[in-house]
C-alpha cells in the first residue's frame, strides 16, 4: 500500500494502519468487494438523479457532469482536527481584521509589514469598499481554506478562499450518501456531524443583518442562473436554508432597499448571500455589461440598507500575491505566531525569486496570481520541455503575474479502485462561518482527490473526485 516517502493517511509511510482508520478497516475487510462496487454504482446513480452536477465551462451549454464520488472516507482524528480548527480560526480572524484595515486606515502598510504596491497594484482591491464598515463587522461570512498534508503533523495552507468559496454542497451530499449507503459504518465510528451547516449558515447570515432590518431578517441566495457551474449548490443551499434563490432579474432597488419581485409585490432583502462575482454584482457601479447583477446594490450597501455576503472586495485577502504575506498578516493582527503554515512561496515579482524559479522550473509548481481552478498553472516535474519553455517566456514577460511553490509530496488516501484500495493524492477544504458571535468551522469539509495515479491535480474541472470527510469524536 505504501508509496516511497509519501504519507498515506490510512497506512502511514510504513504500511502500518493508522489509528483513525482502525474501525473502518475492520469493517472494510469484512466486506465483499462486489457489494462495494455495486454500492459505488448506486452512489453515482443517486448523484445523477439528485442532479448533483456541475456545468463545464466552454462546452455545450447544457452539459452537466458528475463529480466522481469515492466511497472510502477520509478520516481525521479529533486531536488532529482540534489543532487544525484552531489554526483556521486564527487565520480567518486575521483575514477579517486585514480586510477592515485595508479598506480603512491601512495600518499594516504604514507599519511597513506589507508593501503599498501589493494593494495599490492589485485588481482585487475594490476602491468602492473604502470606508465601508459592513454590518456586524464581518467581511467574509463564508471562507474555505484549502489545506494539504505532507505528514502526520504537517498541514499547510495552500490557498484561502475569501470570495465565494464553493463545494460545501458536496460536503453535505457526500455525507448524506454515505449515511444512506453504509448506515452501519456510522454506528461503529463516531463521526462528528456536518449536517448543521445550512442551519448555522442561515443563523450566521441573519446575525449580520443591517440595522434597517426589522423583525426576522430576510435572507436570499443570489445565483448567476442555471447555466452557472455551481448552480446546483446555489439551489441546494437556498433550499436547505429555506430562503429564496434569486437572480439579478428578480431584484431591484425599491424604497432605498434591494427588493425581490414576488407574486405579491416587491419584498426587501436584508442579507444577500451572493454567488455572483464582484465585477458582475452591480452594472451601475461596476461592469455595465453585466446582466447578472442588481443596478444600485452597491449604493444600497454603502447606505447601510443590505448585507452582502461575502462583502465586495474580499478578493484582496485571497489573492495569491497576498498569500505569501499571510504569515505576517496573521501575526500583525492577532499578535500570535501563525498556527498553520503556508506552503513556501517565491514571489516572481522579486528579481531574486524569479531567478531561482527560472533555474528550478522543472521542480516547481508555478501559478497565476489571479488564477483559480487549476487553470493556467505549470507543474514542473510533469511538464514537457516545450511546456517549460513556453512557461519560461510567460514568466519573463510578466513575472509579477506568477508565484511559484515547491512540488509537495501531498498525502494520499486510498480510493476504491477496480483492483481494490489504491492511494491517491488529496487536499481538504474546510468551510468556515463568520458572524459577530464568532468563527466556527464545520468538522470535516470537502476532500478532493486526484483519481489518476500519481496526479497532484484534484480540481473537479480537471478530473478530480471527492470523498466524504470524517472528523471522529474524541
Amino acid at each position: 500500500m505504501e508509496h516511497e516517502g509519501i504519507f498515506d493517511e490510512m497506512w502511514g509511510r510504513d504500511g502500518v494502519l493508522r489509528e483513525p482508520y482502525a474501525r473502518f478497516n475492520a469493517w472494510f475487510e469484512g466486506e465483499d468487494p462486489k457489494r462495494l462496487r455495486a454500492k459505488q454504482r448506486e452512489a453515482e446513480e443517486l448523484f445523477r438523479l439528485t442532479g448533483i452536477t456541475f456545468n463545464v465551462y466552454g462546452r455545450a451549454e447544457a452539459e452537466e457532469r458528475l463529480i466522481p464520488f469515492d466511497i472510502i472516507p477520509r478520516i481525521i482524528s479529533a486531536q488532529e482536527w482540534q489543532k487544525l480548527s484552531r489554526g483556521i480560526d486564527q487565520r480567518v480572524r486575521a483575514i477579517n481584521a486585514f480586510l477592515h484595515d485595508i479598506y480603512h486606515r491601512q495600518e499594516i502598510i504604514k507599519a511597513g509589514r506589507i508593501p503599498e504596491r501589493l494593494i495599490s497594484g492589485n485588481e482585487a482591491f475594490l476602491p468602492q469598499m473604502i470606508g465601508v464598515s459592513p454590518p456586524g463587522g464581518v467581511y467574509t461570512h463564508i471562507v474555505g481554506i484549502d489545506l494539504v498534508r505532507t505528514g502526520p503533523e504537517e498541514f499547510l495552507v495552500l490557498e484561502d478562499n475569501a470570495r465565494t468559496p464553493s463545494g460545501v454542497s458536496y460536503m453535505l451530499e457526500n455525507r448524506e450518501t454515505m449515511l444512506q449507503m453504509f448506515p452501519e459504518l456510522f454506528s461503529h465510528n463516531h463521526v462528528q456531524p456536518v449536517q448543521n451547516y445550512p442551519r448555522d449558515l442561515l443563523r450566521s447570515l441573519m446575525a449580520c443583518a443591517p440595522q434597517t432590518a426589522s423583525g426576522k431578517p430576510t435572507v436570499a441566495v443570489l445565483t448567476p442562473g442555471i447555466y452557472n457551474s455551481a448552480y446546483f449548490e446555489h439551489a441546494f443551499l437556498a433550499d436547505q436554508m429555506g430562503v429564496e434563490l434569486v437572480e439579478g432579474t428578480d431584484l431591484r432597488v425599491v424604497d432605498g432597499r434591494v427588493a425581490m419581485r414576488t407574486t405579491r409585490g416587491y419584498k426587501p432583502i436584508d442579507v444577500l448571500y451572493r454567488r455572483v462575482d464582484d465585477d458582475f454584482l452591480d452594472p451601475l457601479n461596476f461592469n455595465p455589461d453585466s446582466r447578472l447583477g442588481v443596478p444600485g446594490i452597491m449604493d444600497v450597501y454603502r447606505a447601510g440598507g443590505i448585507t452582502i455576503a461575502n462583502a465586495p472586495g474580499t478578493g484582496i485577502a485571497d489573492d495569491k500575491a497576498i498569500y505569501s504575506y499571510m504569515p505576517d498578516i496573521v501575526e500583525f493582527y492577532t499578535g500570535e505566531p501563525p498556527i498553520l503554515k503556508n506552503v513556501p512561496t517565491w514571489r516572481c515579482s522579486e528579481p531574486e525569486a524569479l531567478a531561482y524559479v527560472l533555474d528550478h522550473l522543472d521542480e516547481l509548481v508555478v501559478k497565476e496570481v489571479h488564477g483559480s481552478g487549476g487553470y493556467g498553472m505549470l507543474i514542473g516535474p510533469t511538464a514537457t520541455k516545450r511546456d517549460l519553455a513556453a512557461f519560461r517566456k510567460k514568466l519573463k514577460a510578466r513575472p509579477g503575474n506568477y508565484i511559484a511553490q515547491p512540488t509537495l509530496s501531498l498525502s494520499t488516501v486510498p480510493i476504491f479502485s477496480r483492483t481494490g484500495l489504491a492511494p491517491r493524492h488529496v487536499d481538504l477544504r474546510p468551510f468556515v462561518l463568520v458572524s459577530p458571535d464568532g468563527i466556527s468551522t464545520t468538522p470535516g469539509g470537502l476532500t478532493r482527490v486526484a483519481l489518476k495515479k500519481g496526479s497532484l491535480v484534484v480540481n473537479s474541472s480537471q478530473g478530480g473526485g471527492t470523498k466524504d470527510t470524517w472528523v471522529l469524536e474524541e
Partner: protein, 265 residues
Amino acid sequence: MRLKIRHRTRYVFDHPVSYGLQQIRKTPKSTHQQVVYDWTTRVAGGRKELSFEDHHNNIVELLSFERDATELVVTSAGEVELSNTNGVVGRHIGPAPLWLYRQVSARTRPGPAVRALTRAAEGPSDIERLHALMKLVSGAVAYEVGTSHSDWGAEEALTQARGVCQDHAHVFIACAREMGFPSRYVSGYLMLDDRVEQDAMHAWAEAHVDGLGWIGFDPSNGISPDERYVRVATGLDYADAAPVIGMRVGGTGEALDVEIEVAQQ
C-alpha cells in the same frame, strides 16, 4: 462671496422608461473654503431612493424613475459662501488613501503625448512645476466646445489638441500623476463675471503637494480656483465625479435640457 446656484436637468423621452436609476453627485459639501446653505435636490417624475457618501467623500444620491415616466426633472439649488484660499484646499482627509490618487484610471492613462508634456513641465519647486504644467495644458489643448467626446481620455484630447474643461482636467491629472503627484478630478460650479445662465458644470483638477496638501488648478482658465469656484465632487477622473450616472430600461428618444444659474448674492 456668496453664490446662489440653481441647476435643473430635464429629460424627456419619446417612449416611457419602465425602470431606471440615476446616481447623482450634485451636492456640494462644506469645507474650509466653502460653506453650503440650504441645499436641496428635488425630483419630479422620479424619487429619491437613498443617499450616501462614496469613497471620495462625495455626497451621492440614488434616484429612481417613476414607472413609465416620460419625463424626469432634477433640480438642485442652494447657496454657498466662499472664501479665497488661492487654490489651497488643504490636507488630505480621505477616506481613500492618498496613494489611490496616484493610480492610473481609464481616462487618465498616459501615452506618448502625456509623457512628452510631462517632460516639458519644469520649475524650481513642486508648485511652480504644477503651474507650468497648467499653462502647458491650456496651450496644448484648445478650448473648443462641442468638438471633444465625453469618453475621451487625456491622451486623445492631447492628440486631438482640442477639448473642454473635462479634457483639460484629464490631461493635467494624467501628467501630474506621471510627475509623481497624487491628483484628482473636480467637478463643480464656476461663477462667471458676465452672466448668470450657464451651459454646463465646470471641471478642474487638484494635485497633492507634500506640506501644502491639495491645491486646485484650472487649466481652462489658467488659474488656481478662487472664491468663484464651488467644489461639488471629486474622483480619479470624470467617471468618479460625474454629476449623473444612469441606467434605464426603455426610455428611447431622450431629449436633454440643462439650465444652470450661478449668481452672486
